[in-house]
């Protein structure tokens, strides 16, 4: 290298320049170098190595630290043996037990003893004549010789070689793997490649035992359900007594004549068969008592279900819309809408499903079922027909704020699907009761029908219902037993199939 790079700006300068021609930074130290450190610019530019600071010393150039005794003179020859002993003992002021220090200070005492070691270990041992190098960090202990930090110790070197750009080491991008690793990698690659390839589906059996079981259950259920309807035979007695249904029956019996009753039709058409069969006897009982009915629903299909129920299921009572009952339609908003209706029913649903003003106001007479009704507490009873646990819970929760007061005499009763019964029973068993009576499923409806003595729909369905439940339970029981016993029977006997017994 012919130029000297400036440690500050990095630009090239002549080798003998003291300051940078471009940035005026000093290129040589301010202090006078030692005589043995006089270096030329060429030496300065050379890359420093640890050997520059700690040059290797040839074994034959070790300083001879042995004490050379002067030749015995004539006047000193009286004690030649003492001087020799003193030289062998070392300095006279050291005690005997520190003699090892002087032994260790001898140049030849530093050599380790030649021990009997293994040949492979002997080959790994560095040669004794190689002088160990000191760590590179010791360079920091030398004073800085160039740059603005010149003269300071313990700083990073600002010499040109410290900032010289070096050629980037190029590493090979070829992965060195063993043959075993290559085999595993190939296997993994093959697995991943075949994973995305669609495999042909195994051929399905055209006739499987599952089809027979499925169709068998369907046919048996159909036969059992249709048999009571086709033959007209009724053998099963109605259930005797249910406390919740009896309580509802008592409440209906206590209603005054022409009492306003609010009925919520909150079930889906899919569950209408069960809920309507259970509710038929209760609403039949209400109609016999001459109650005025007000119908609402928080389900979009509820108003049509209510209309259908009044026109078809209860057709025998000749209840007329607008005279004996009023259908207020759909309450949108779920729980919020229900809360709005409970808080102000007149503002929430002012018209009937036909568009007729329903409520009694200052300027008009209301429809007969809503005469004298201004708030939710004015209804004598609130009956909810429900098939969903969440909907049932929403009715209970939103009504409790108004019906939970001590002076309120309105009772909340429910006709539910059988699946809702466990969720509603806690409200019935609560103290005070939050639901005052329950008819759950067709069984509850049949129990209610037995109490009123009017079998109605529950009586017609009771045999088919019971037969279907019995066959379903037996099918499940038989399927479970076959699933448990068949593997035990088909299991090979111990020893069977073993070669050589």
């Amino acid at each position: 290298m012919d130029d000297l790079a400036c440690p500050m700006c990095g630009k090239a300068n002549p080798l003998d320049a003291e300051v940078c021609a471009h940035c005026q930074a000093r290129l040589t130290p301010l202090f006078a170098p030692d005589s043995d450190e006089q270096r030329t610019g060429e030496d300065e530019a050379r890359l420093a190595t640890p050997d520059d600071f700690f040059p290797a010393v040839e074994p034959e150039t070790y300083p001879d630290l042995t004490i050379e005794l002067p030749a015995p003179s004539s006047d000193e020859s009286v004690l030649p043996q003492e001087a020799a002993d003193e030289a062998a003992r070392g300095p006279a002021d050291l005690p005997q037990w520190l003699n090892w220090i002087s032994e260790a200070s001898r140049p030849d005492s530093g050599k380790p003893e030649q021990a009997s070691t293994a040949s492979w270990l002997e080959e790994m041992r560095p040669p004794y004549d190689q002088t160990p190098t000191r760590p590179a960090d010791s360079r920091l202990e030398r004073p800085e010789a160039a740059g603005p930090l010149a003269g300071l110790r313990g700083v990073l070197s600002a010499r040109p070689e410290a900032i010289r750009s070096r050629k980037t080491v190029v590493y090979s991008d070829q992965l060195k793997v063993t043959a075993n690793q290559r085999a595993h990698a190939d296997l993994l690659k093959e697995l991943l490649e075949t994973e995305g390839v669609p495999q042909p589906a195994p051929p399905r059996k055209t006739i499987r035992s599952e089809y027979f079981l499925r169709w068998g259950i369907l046919l048996v259920l159909l036969l059992v359900l249709l048999w009571p309807a086709l033959t007209g035979v009724r053998r099963a007695p109605l259930p005797v007594y249910q406390e919740e249904a009896a309580e509802l029956n008592r409440l209906v019996d206590q209603l005054p004549e022409k009492a306003p009753v609010l009925i919520g039709f909150d079930y889906d058409p899919g569950l209408s068969a069960e809920v309507e069969a259970a509710a038929a006897t209760v609403i039949d009982h209400l109609m016999l008592r001459g109650a005025y009915l007000t119908l609402v629903s928080t389900s979009p299909t509820g108003p049509l279900l209510a209309e259908r129920f009044m026109r078809i299921t209860q057709a025998g009572h000749s209840y007329a819309s607008g005279i004996n009952y009023v259908n207020l339609g759909y309450v949108p908003g779920g729980s919020v809408g229900l809360l709005n209706f409970v808080g102000s029913p007149q503002r929430s649903l002012p018209y009937t499903l036909d568009g007729t003003p329903a409520w009694e106001t200052a300027g008009q007479d209301g429809l007969p079922p809503l005469k004298g009704v201004a708030a939710i507490e004015d209804f004598a009873m609130i009956l909810v027909l429900v098939a969903d646990p969440d909907t049932a819970r929403a009715w209970v929760e939103q009504l409790q704020a108004r019906l939970g007061r001590l002076q309120t005499l309105t009772s909340l009763v429910m006709v539910t699907s059988a699946q809702v019964e466990p969720m509603i029973l806690p409200y019935y068993y609560a103290n005070p009761r939050q639901v005052h009576g329950i008819v759950a499923g067709l069984r509850g409806g049949a129990a209610y029908a037995r109490l009123t003595g009017r079998p109605g729909q529950p009586g017609r369905f009771w045999d088919a219902y019971g037969s279907g439940l019995l066959v379903s339970a037996l099918a499940i029981l038989a399927g479970g037993l076959v699933s448990v016993l068949l593997p035990l029977i088909m299991r090979p006997a111990p020893g069977e199939g073993e070669v050589g017994g």
Binding site: S321, P332, V336, L353, E421, M423, G466, A475, I476
Partner: protein, 210 residues
């Protein structure tokens, strides 16, 4: 906080409605009633918007066909939906929901379809119950099936084969394990509602910000 105004409005509305349950102040009750009424109207409008969106999506499938990403069968289903929705809307809107034609559509189309689905579900459940042990045999499966069998047997008549203690066992199942589970569910739901309400009132949850 993306929009502090929205959060402030939501928190204020929630606090007013909640306070209306505890404080019998006329102004507060009136304000609460108005807010709840607005919410009800909004839900009703959302229902109408949902119906319009449903109609638009299927109308697009019918008119664009395969270009709109619909296969042949999907196009037919969409056509049935658009036709049924239009017919019901015209009959119910023009003649009224209690007109015999509107009730005929409901009684002879919607009701049988949904009831048939429930009937199929009953058959499928019986079949699944019969094969359940074959698929998974463990203690809980056995307990589940035995409970189902007992409840099924006692929910209907036994035609003179009443077994002693079976009715009492069914009553015990309904009043103790089933009611205990239901109470647990109700309590859990109540705690969840309280937590969610408090988070909304505190502005921690802000679903209205999208």
């Amino acid at each position: 906080m993306k929009n502090p105004l929205l959060t402030a409005i939501a928190m204020a509305v929630g606090i007013v409605v909640l306070a209306g349950y505890f404080l019998a102040v006329d102004m507060l009750l009136t304000l609460r009633a108005i807010l709840i009424e607005w919410a009800t109207i909004l839900v009703a409008v959302a229902l109408i918007a949902g119906v319009i969106n449903l109609f638009a999506v299927h109308w697009r499938k019918v008119t664009r066909g395969s270009a709109g990403g619909a296969s042949g069968s999907t196009q037919i289903y969409s056509l049935v939906l658009v036709t049924g929705l239009s017919a019901t809307l015209i009959v119910g809107g023009w003649l009224g929901p209690t007109h015999p034609y509107a009730l005929w559509i409901f009684n002879n189309i919607q009701l049988p379809v949904e009831t048939s689905l429930m009937a199929i579900l009953a058959v499928v459940l019986v079949y699944a119950g019969a094969r359940l042990i074959q698929r998974r045999l463990n203690l809980l499966t056995v307990v589940f099936l035995l409970t189902a069998v007992v409840v099924l047997l006692v929910s209907g008549p036994l035609f003179g084969f009443d077994l002693p203690g079976l009715a009492e066992l069914r009553a015990w199942i309904g009043r103790v394990p089933a009611a205990a589970g239901a109470r647990g569910v109700i309590l859990g739901v109540a705690l969840g509602i309280v937590t969610t309400g408090l988070r909304l009132l505190a502005g921690v949850d802000r679903p209205y910000e999208g």
